[in-house]
Amino acid sequence: MASVVLQRLSTLIPAERILTRPAELASYESDGLTAFRARPDAIVVPETQEETIDIVRLCHELGIPFVARGSGTSLSGGSLPVANGIVIALNRLNRILHIDPTTRTAVVEPGVINTHVTQAASPFGLHYAPDPSSQSICTIGGNIAFNSGGAHCLKHGMTANHVLAIKAVLATGEVVEWGTGSREFIGPDWCGLFSGHEGLFGIALQITLQLLPKPDRFHTVLAGYQSLEQAGDAVAAIIASGLLPGAIEIMDALALEAAKAAVHADYPPGCEAVLIVELEGPREAVEVERTQLEAILSASRPVEMRPARDSAERLAIWKGRKSAFSAVGRLSPDFIVQDGVVPRRRLGEALRKIARMASESGIRVANVFHAGDGNLHPLILFDGRVPGALERAEQLAGRILKMCVEMGGSITGEHGIGMEKREFLPDMFSPAEIRLMERIHAAFDPKKISNPGKMFPAGTAPSLQLHGLHPLEKAGLASRE
């Protein structure tokens, strides 16, 4: 990095929070999507909103690309650094500034960990609803940038549905405040537009979140089925009945194997699929609904039905489900997590197609999904040490995504496009629509410095590992100071 840039940065934050040593750069090279790595020139670690604003303004002035990062858990490469740019680590902006039980809101900084919001709200009988599986470590800033979902968004919606106000520094350096902390607003929904901007507009500095009363009662049932088909039919029956569960999840046999190994989850033996349904609400309502649910489930002929008898059993069911992604690390050295959506009723068809495509390519695929809203997470398992395995896995991933689009679904339900699915954006949007999004992007980020290279298609192939010397450096035509 040019020494003048480092020198300017050091006027904004102390040198010990500008990380440039090899060990420091190596640590931030990648996020939750390890197929991509890129070494930034530096990582800067602000501790206040003011420092963050100053850093972004400096980047705007000097045209330095930057990537904001919370805990680096993105599954789409959303916080992949940019070579010749900096990473702005927001994890130390982690203050919960205010919890207001009267307005049921929380005002937080972007580095606050998702579950910490609920923990802080809990003494007031409130909770923060969006629950991505990485919630023990992922940050609110990252949740907003990618409009994170989670198992409970069937009933409660995604992150965007719980954001009431945002103060942000845009890539132009302008600091804006949108929303007032009211659940209603006037004029265009700026907070809505900023949610899911994939880091391309700027950095959120202070966020007002909506808190909901803790559900009075849960009724969580785990049901094992002999086939994925049967589990899918059970879901259709639940939906048709008019019940609105808080969550409906399915895990297939491979995913169950992983979860069992990871957290010693206890599943009914001999099942090809497990269905998790959770009702929530006032106890009087849940009492009535649980009878309805149990009748529906019994009629679907499960191998075994296990209602959780207490809070500990309920948490164990969720622990198994939420560990599933990372747990497949026990089954395979490497994997790709996907995030496609198909219309809910075509889930069975989609799974059959995936199974067929997988066996044709000789690749194992585990399936975990939000059955209630058609959001699939195929986990494509491969061994990166085998030549060509990564490429084959990516090809299968691409075919699955195309299938989702063909079925009228989406290439991403909640993980966002990031780095991973850029080339598929034209499958979802026409050139004119992509141009509109580019113009919107340019309004926020005319210099293209904010998380550049994400979301929009680029010329490079997805598996390029941007790591080590730049080709120009290798050729001896350029060097860095």
């Binding site: 995604m158 209603e184 004029g187 949610s195 006032p282 809203d373 339900g413």
Partner: protein, 359 residues
Amino acid sequence: MSPTLTPSSVTELRDAILASARVSIEGARTKPALIASAGSSIGLRQLSGITEYDPEEFTFTALAGTPLREVIAALDSRNQRLPFDPMLVESGGTLGGAFASGLSGPGRHRHGGIRDFILGIRFMDGEGRLLRLGGKVVKNAAGFDVPKFFVGSLGCFGALVDLTFKVFPRPPAQLTLRFPTQHVEESVELITRLASSRWDCDALEIPTGARHVLARLAGPNRALNLMASDMGRALKREFTVEDPSIWAAMAEFAWSPPGHALAKVPLVPTSAVECAKVIGSLPTMQVHFSAACNVAFLSWADPTIHAALQTSLAQLGLEAMMLRGDPGGWCMGRRRVTQIEAAVKHAFDPLNRFPTLSR
């Protein structure tokens, strides 16, 4: 004044847009204060009809000019609903109009407002291009969330053609309870208490006068009476059961006399009491608190209070969107101006074909 043009197809819409340097879009004119005065007006009432409805998928798509009553009837026949209680339904309001004005009703308290149920839109831009943003499935994170951005955008970025919404199952039963109160402080306190309670109220309103609170419960029939009794016991309050027809009347703002101005004011609940005292005390002013005091609807007759109202709103840090009446603009009160809004407006509408949200 009737609109100049009422296209009945996408092609006709394109011709209408390209025919004038400036255009403004309208639906059923149920919110006349929000219809821009400059430019040729284009009415979308003939772009009407539900084009797709898939109850199993919890989604439907309808053209922007479709009357809300038609949408609601179709959903109702399949035991589904738009949980946010669209407003101005019997008055003939359109889906596009509700969306472009961002107007949600009492039901927004429980599951969210109109912005929480939009999945995708198709709109025509100032150059006659038909663009689709968002999608048709209930979960979709691809691309920028332009559909949400259009909520409340008052037709400034383009002309809505069709909208895809998520729906929910209609609860099996509803029960509305009326709790008498002595004054606005007590009403607001009761609302606050109920909003954080375990009973998961479907709607929480303080009608004008603030002498009572309405709490609507929704769920399985058997559960509702039990919940109501428990509420009365826990709150140590008397209540009466209210006729469900009040909600239909409320959706039409029946409490605001004809000819009165009407405005929506987003509120942080802790400002409700001050709002009632400062604004509510203006001559002829009526205040209805909606969505657990997250919105105040204001209704007044006397145009000479405009200056005082403007001052009070600004002092309280509030902003009002006019629905009916003409104080000399579509909004009142405090307004934050940003540089980004001009840049984004330009990104959507470089030719400035559509109105600008000027204050």
